[in-house]
């Protein structure tokens, strides 16, 4: 039965050729997590701005400039995350167009 083993010196495919101690750390979705957290932050900021607008409009809060600043922050964050999303999609398309 030992004849069936063709070449004992060839290492099994499953073992990585590189040093296993230097293998890349598991990065399952690390980038996705960063993006997800950023989107959550923007969403939270917009919800806060909405709450401030409601309080100002219904008169429970007289802080006009605070509301304006909160709204502007939320708006800028939203525009930023939107542009980041556009860039990510552009990068994805770039990779998709690559030919090997």
């Amino acid at each position: 039965m030992s004849d069936l083993i063709i070449n004992k010196t060839v290492p099994p495919i499953s073992t990585p050729l590189a040093d296993p101690s230097k293998a890349a750390e598991p990065t399952d979705g690390a980038f996705g997590k960063i993006i997800g957290r950023a989107i959550n932050d923007v969403n939270k900021q917009m919800a806060e701005a909405d709450k401030a607008v409601e309080a100002l409009t219904s008169g429970t809060n007289k802080d006009i400039h605070g509301t304006m600043i909160a709204m502007e922050k939320a708006s800028i964050s939203f525009h930023l995350i939107n542009q980041i999303r556009n860039k990510i999609i552009d990068a994805y398309k770039e990779v998709q167009r690559m030919s090997f």
């Binding site: 607008v53 008169g59 509301t67 709204m71 708006s75 939107n82 556009n86």
Partner: protein
């Protein structure tokens, strides 16, 4: 998601607030115009009270429509905001029964104008964010 939900959130509240503030401006101006009318009683709208009264209805339970013949409620809670005018309790400063206090009317006028401008800027910004979301941030 229905298309009417696009303009949900604070849009109805801001619209109502702008309507009420425009009405209040007319009212204050008419008070000022009648500053010399004998027996004229100045009056006012307290906008914040009206908006707070109905502001919480958006969190109320909606009516379920379990049959296609059930009528869907189209009001958004702010339709019921009505304009209640209130005679201001200003003392008559003169002998002719006129209660218009010019200083107070001027304060009300500029306060109302500032709040109107703030509300219109806020709703403009909210429309801008919606447009940016639709146009891919352009």
């Amino acid at each position: 998601m229905g298309i009417q939900k696009l303009f949900g959130g604070n849009f109805p509240l801001l619209e109502k607030s702008l309507n009420l503030r425009a009405r209040r401006h007319e009212l204050i101006v008419s008070n000022i115009a009648n500053a010399d009318t004998p027996h004229y009683k100045s009056f006012d709208i307290i906008i914040e009270d009206e908006l707070q009264k109905t502001g919480n209805t958006s969190h109320a339970l909606p009516l379920e429509t379990t049959h296609r013949n059930h009528l869907r409620s189209v009001s958004n809670g702010f339709d019921q905001v009505t304009i209640h005018t209130k005679e201001s309790d200003g003392l008559s400063l003169r002998g002719d029964g006129n209660t218009v206090d010019m200083d107070r009317e001027m304060v009300n006028l500029s306060e109302n104008a500032i709040n109107y401008r703030a509300a219109s800027q806020i709703i403009g910004k909210m429309f801008g964010v919606l447009k940016a979301a639709i146009n891919n941030g352009k």
